[in-house]
């Protein structure tokens, strides 16, 4: 399947690795579908546990910066994730925080509402089908008669990739929309000038609202908030104007408004737009402007209709936000 061309550029070495991840980002790489031939013509995949049999030892044996680009997806949840983040940083020229989890913590970041013991207690003790009278917990070292078995340490906190190592670029999304990945990949391969280090790539500078096709007026005023289950969505009108929380105003565009195409309000997986560091703060500001009341009691009543602001405004970004974990 290789294209042999004397004038062909040398292939770039590409790695894709996952921390605390779901595999969706790897699927997004595969969703290049038939363009896979073009990707493969330009890149040598050197490390991708889901697809290739390269082992950790092989990465350790690589020279520093031998890998041209690593797409690191998944959050940093345990010591194995952290170790690989450091290892890949060392072996990689351009390290990309790929997907929401690496960017700002992602869905696993919701674990920051709890801690190790809180999670262990639910998973290994109190779940209704679990029978564990001796309160066994996974251990970093277990001595069996044959030898010692090891597991990584599960940290109290979930972290984004840049909270552990220096990151060159961020490619947001849960997962990133494949077309955006291809655009970034082609830019790298063709040697185009890359934006300054630390930039968000593969996403628009403006918010979702810019791309969204739903009908909207200039002046959003909300008298009452509704959960999606409380309304019959008309399929056409801006969610916020129907009283349903939509993270569009506080989220970068670039995904093709895919959730809204499915008639579900945006939940913010592309992270905050360029002018806002903290997506939840941005959303709170936006909602503050939209609430149509100046009476304190009425305002309190309207705000009370927003269930779970922390879990909605920071659905994908809790570890990467200003208050990045709950005080227990």
């Amino acid at each position: 399947m290789e294209v042999t061309d004397k004038n062909a550029k040398p292939k770039i070495k590409l790695a894709v690795y996952w921390g605390a991840a779901c595999g969706g980002c790897c699927v997004s790489v595969l969703d290049v579908h038939e363009s896979l031939f073009d990707v493969v013509a330009a890149a040598d995949l050197v490390f991708w546990p889901i697809a290739l049999d390269t082992k950790y030892k092989d990465v350790e044996a690589m020279a520093d910066q031998e890998i041209d680009v690593t797409l690191f997806n998944g959050a940093v949840r345990n010591s194995e994730n952290e170790h690989l983040a450091h290892l890949l940083r060392q072996k990689t020229k351009v390290l990309v925080a790929y997907g929401s989890c690496a960017h700002m913590g992602g869905i696993p970041g919701l674990g920051n509402f709890s801690d190790r013991e809180g999670i262990f207690e639910r998973v290994y003790d109190t779940t209704e089908t679990t029978v564990n009278p001796d309160k066994i917990r996974p251990q970093q070292e277990t001595k069996m008669k044959e030898g010692i078995l090891e597991l990584p340490e599960f940290y109290n906190d979930v972290r984004s990739l840049d909270q552990v190592v220096d990151v060159d670029y961020y490619l947001p999304g849960c997962p990133p929309q494949t077309e955006r990945l291809v655009e970034v990949f082609m830019a790298i391969v063709t040697g185009a000038e890359l934006p300054p280090k630390g930039s968000v790539v593969g996403a628009l500078e403006k918010s979702q609202c810019d791309e969204c096709n739903r009908k909207k007026t200039d002046n959003k005023t909300i008298k009452e908030f509704h959960r999606p289950i409380d309304i019959q969505d008309d399929g056409e009108t801006c969610f916020l104007e129907q009283g349903v929380i939509c993270m569009g105003p506080a989220t970068r565009g670039g995904c093709g408004v895919r959730c809204i195409e499915g008639n579900a309000p945006c939940r913010g997986c592309y992270g905050p737009p360029a002018d806002a560091k903290d997506p939840g703060a941005k959303m709170m500001s936006a909602i503050g402007t939209m609430i149509d009341s100046n009476e304190e009691e009425e305002i309190k009543k309207i705000v009370d209709q927003i269930d779970d602001p922390a879990g909605t405004f920071y659905r994908f970004s809790l570890p990467g936000s200003i208050i990045r974990r709950k005080l227990l």
């Binding site: 906190d157 503050g288 609430i291 705000v303 200003i322």
Partner: protein, 142 residues
Amino acid sequence: MEEFKPTIVSFLCNWCSYTGADLAGTSRMKYAPNIRVIRVMCSGRVDPTFVLTAFKEGADGVLICGCHPGDCHYHEGNYKCLRRYHLLQKYIQQMGIHKDRLRLAWVSASEGKQFAELANEMTETVTALGPCEIKEVMETLA
């Protein structure tokens, strides 16, 4: 053991509440020194990131003061602040920060005495709550 002295970051709007606080000062009213004043043009200028950053940097309490409803120099600014405040309250409580650590009050330019009382009251409340540990918790990983 050292007695706990809270740090309360305070955003005061230029036209009403900052002037009111100033009046307390020029009138030689004594009030708790724990209030660290930051002057903003309007309470509507207080972005949620200001409040959250204050807690992140180690504030034990955050006090926002603005003009009384109807008196805002920019008409609507204090109402925007009021709405954001209630949202922030709901959010910080979800994050384990006690609701009494964040407070919004209306203070007019002539209410020097009220400002002093407010400062003392809030300091007493936050002292009783103890230090806000969110900064320490965020800095201690694993």
